[in-house]
Subunit: 335 residues, 2 copies
């Protein structure tokens, strides 16, 4: 039976048009079926006006949309009839296999925690974007949900991230690095010093501290840190990307047509490497079933990629792999 991906039709800046575009393409190219949550008349009207087929797409109607400026906890209160909460409930009930939304990250983390629930033994859910590096991409977690963490949470992030990189990104035995302010194991705050010790005996492929300076090299595939630091690092990564893209454009504005022509292929290749749309979105790791947070400014391609990413999470059984690792580890601790 085809996998069924639930998608929030009213999350993000370009909803519902770009959501529908991405889903139509996903049905056609990925062989999945889709459940869209949100206003049925609006979805049908938008699809009709833009000549998009809804074949393979079921709609579960709700009029409510979760406001991005609302407090995250409202997702299980005043927002419980929103297209986001509805999608999470359908996932919890087993009506679909994964959920994609471009709505509020905070609400999605909160809703995933209380509606879909965490993997057994996992303390916190972490938004986990995959970022481009020079020698390959890497996953960064926690990227913003848990601003204060205990050392054992960082170990769990390492387990979750390793499972993802291995099962979804096909990296064998991914290297894990602890984001820190120096390479020695005595560096950092109490959090890093304790997490270092725990990671060393975790059985993961822990290669020690990674300094922020070395992150863009992409020498390790899993970078763990608390949600405050991770959010700063993620957003600086994005901000520097935009800054440099602008600069490259400026430099080339004087290169003349000939120079631009020679370099255009490489610029495109570079932009593709740096483009979040290629990745899809951030997996919310630690949830019992795959939940993908698509970027707020996602277009049809980004939504298509997010659905593809959700499909790969199911196929790779990231949650199952994480759960058995955590169970093995806690059994070893008891010995």
């Amino acid at each position: 039976m085809a996998l069924k991906i639930i998608v929030d039709a009213f999350g993000g800046d370009n909803a519902p048009l770009e959501v529908i575009k991405g889903c139509e393409r996903a049905v056609r190219e990925l062989g999945v079926s889709i459940i869209l949550t949100g206003s049925e008349p609006k979805i049908k009207k938008c699809a009709g006006e833009n000549g998009l087929s809804l074949s393979g797409i079921e709609i579960v109607h709700t009029d409510d949309v979760f406001d991005i400026h609302e407090e995250p906890k409202e997702i299980i209160k005043s927002g419980k009839n929103s297209s986001m909460a509805m999608g999470l409930s359908l996932l919890a009930e087993g009506r679909g296999d994964a959920f994609v939304s471009a709505g509020s990250t905070g609400a999605l983390v909160m809703g995933a925690t209380f509606i879909v629930k965490r993997i057994k033994g996992i303390k916190r859910i972490a938004p986990s974007p995959v970022l481009p590096g020079d020698n390959g991409s890497f996953i960064l977690l926690d990227a913003g949900a848990n601003t204060e963490c205990r050392p054992e949470m960082l170990v769990q992030f390492a387990i979750m991230g390793s499972a993802y990189m291995e099962k979804v990104m096909g990296v064998k035995d991914p290297k894990v690095g602890l984001l820190n302010i120096g390479s020695e194991e005595t560096k950092g705050r109490e959090l890093e010093i304790e997490a270092y010790k725990l990671l060393e005996k975790s059985g993961l492929n822990f290669t020690g501290n990674v300094e922020a300076r070395d992150m863009p090299r992409g020498d390790v595939q899993v970078v763990v840190t608390d949600g405050f630091t991770g959010n700063i690092a993620l957003k600086l990564y994005e901000g520097m990307g935009s800054f440099f893209a602008k600069k490259v454009k400026w430099i080339f504005s004087g290169a003349g047509k000939l120079g631009a022509l020679f370099s255009m292929g490489k610029i495109k290749q570079f932009r593709k490497q740096m483009d979040y749309k290629e990745v899809g979105g951030s997996a919310l790791l630690g949830v019992r079933k795959p939940v993908i947070k698509a970027h707020g400014s996602s277009d049809g391609t980004a939504f298509f990629n997010a659905v593809r990413q959700a499909k790969r999470c199911i196929e790779g059984d990231v949650a199952g792999v994480t759960e058995s690792y955590v169970a093995r580890m806690s059994a070893a601790d008891k010995e």
Copy 2:
């Protein structure tokens, strides 16, 4: 009388040759005199072999060099005869007006704190690099010394950074931003939430939170955060800079001579904008007298710029301005 800058002749990867080069040029172009600390025979031999003049340069001899891998606190113990500790002592004794070293940041912070001492009322010394932004440069502090901070320390960083940007960089009424994971005042950890409130009533030109994504724009001139987060942000900034410089080079390797010719001026301009050597080094703010940490890989130009930066700190009386601001604020608190 000419200002006298004390320079550690044996700090950094390129000591003493590049240090001497920078100092020779500083004597010639800035009208300052220099005290070099370190092995007199080695300095004289190096200068002689490379045809560098030591005119205007006094040498205060010591054989010891502080090992960069040594624990910072050793600067006031086993390292107290090192060229770094000697320079700090000369500064404390009033034999010179400012000190420049490219040695260990940790040791320099420790030595500055205990040998030169802090400005009255200032709780912590912060390494404070000036970083390039699209709309102008900005100072980031604390960039690594105090991994855990209290809210009032962030306010002091804001005062120190504002004094520096105004008096050394010539920015009138510099804007202050609190590095945070969102724009609302309720965002962040207890540290940010409390610091936000204190900054609002500080009398500084506080413009609210700044997200890491917006840092490269350079819309605010003073960015304050704790030393852990600041160090991650600084090193990621540097790392992304190298990554993109490499990419730009790669893109141009196919642009053909004509295209490269058209763009070379802009590339050079961009590189200059991103180059730490142009700035000099990181001022250690909060010390009673100017102490500049030059980059470990500084060349003659970078040392020259660090000496120029030290001179500007003296001329702008950054420490005096900071002290009177802190005094005014604590008087206002008592009212």
